[in-house]
Symmetry: C2
Subunit: 340 residues, 2 copies
Amino acid sequence: MSTTEHVMSKFLNNPDDIVPESLAGLEAAHRDLVTVDAENQVVLRAGGPVEGKVALVSGGGSGHEPLHGGFVGLGMLDAACAGAVFTSPVPDQMLAGSKAADGGAGVLHIVKNYTGDVLNFKMAADMLDDDGVQVETVLVNDDVAVEDSLYTAGRRGTGATVLLEKIAGARAEQRASLQEVAAVAQRVNDGSRSFGVALSSCTPPSAGSPIFQISQGEIELGVGIHGEPGRRRGQLGSAAEVASQMATPILDDLGLESGSRVLAFVNGLGGTPAIELYVLYGELSKLLADRGIEVGRSLVGSYITSLEMAGASFTLLELDSELEALWDAPVHTPALRWGV
Amino acid sequence: MSTTEHVMSKFLNNPDDIVPESLAGLEAAHRDLVTVDAENQVVLRAGGPVEGKVALVSGGGSGHEPLHGGFVGLGMLDAACAGAVFTSPVPDQMLAGSKAADGGAGVLHIVKNYTGDVLNFKMAADMLDDDGVQVETVLVNDDVAVEDSLYTAGRRGTGATVLLEKIAGARAEQRASLQEVAAVAQRVNDGSRSFGVALSSCTPPSAGSPIFQISQGEIELGVGIHGEPGRRRGQLGSAAEVASQMATPILDDLGLESGSRVLAFVNGLGGTPAIELYVLYGELSKLLADRGIEVGRSLVGSYITSLEMAGASFTLLELDSELEALWDAPVHTPALRWGV
């Protein structure tokens, strides 16, 4: 047993081992659902590839748990590649994950729009193509807060990733073709917008110090999931004000009309408890009702996080009957489960 | 819209309204599952009482979400009474909740062992008895950290509450009698032990300042879910060391033999993200394997919290085939769902 004492207030052993150790814990807790390829840091669906089903492969930097490894299982992902905290996985991981997950019907890469992820998934897709594996890629870029950022050209991929992985996963379970699964994934991305805010910073374990400074009572509006700066720093207002600051740019950008039906997703960034997320949900539901927008489905919880950051994001997805039925389809993963 | 600016880094409007507003958000997000009696601050199962089924009624101070309101629905609670943050609800709430939930087969009160809750539930039970409603009470006192505390005579009720509400809820769905449901609830409590640790304090909204002070790199061993002091304050060690500090007193107290089978529950206290909880789970699973104890079921997540406190608790429940089958039975609540 190590006798390390450390000043970061986190549960960890050697800070450099947090990702493999967390993956090992995920596997130990959910052996019925997932297997971890420890060498490649890839979470795989237990039982091996599903023959004849399109394989969904995602991944990205760690620190956003349960995304992505917590979403591997029936009705969602077949493989999730875990990079170091806030660092893209490398193409070899994506190659290993895709090959292990491929059931002969092709592979869909679900890529959040960050420069490193995009480049590395592209390289992996090229290698898979050389090996005769069919690959389609869907880019998630739902964050309306900023057009370009520290890590991206164009919009960042945030909360919509969760919804897309669920819905495209359900479509794949129906044994739809690679093109059909990619098409519904694209439709989820196109119909989703997100906006996030932070009330605290977070500390990547290997760095050991917070990635930015923010005072009690301040809010970073439009923050990314790696603590990237947003639109502006301001004084924290009431929950009603914050909800409006988050929902308004989403609604303006989506251009939803009265009578539209949405999935409303209130996400915690890791350090914000449920009591506050539900206060925000209540405010969001009032804002939507004021505009005549109906909430068809909801999701409230910490599903795409930024380590222990206190903060939240809203994601709205415009629903239609197909997306709603795919959302309702059975799912059984470590972090999302129903119908089974 | 309020223009309040406040220095607490929380999503809220008037700090005194956080409980009713969070309940309103819970109802708005899960109208298919719950109804909120706003006057009494009671979360009720949607659709009214289930005729012929024993009604499970719990409650306690708020700030522990999703406990208890997030566990109302099929296969768990019929009513949850929400007090102010870290403050027992009053007997009138328990009376209202019990009457609204009663389906004619009696009511089980699930009471965490804190002096206020115990007294108030007792008064409510007496009033219900006067009104001819059959009531049984099960006291949850699973916390092995301290014998008496700031708020209790005897052990505190913590993580076992979640497991008990799930398992007794499943037994009630089978239309077992009040005595049978109470008996299995008692069995879960008797077979469960918990231990919690804190790495940060938390701030009750109405107080506006942290309830205790703890420095970066310190750990409070044996903390309660209201920030009550535990066994001792120390330097934070490695995750392996912390896991051993939590698991050892539980295992010593439960007296599990090699070959025993447990449900292992790693719970976050509100501000600790999933990546760290899974590191702890990995360490716990190694400690259990070393003793020859088999993990039959697991639960990892933030289910009984202490506002935004960074920290975690372990709960172990000795399983048998009946408890395991009841754990696996369908549940559909805002915070716990499977099989439906």
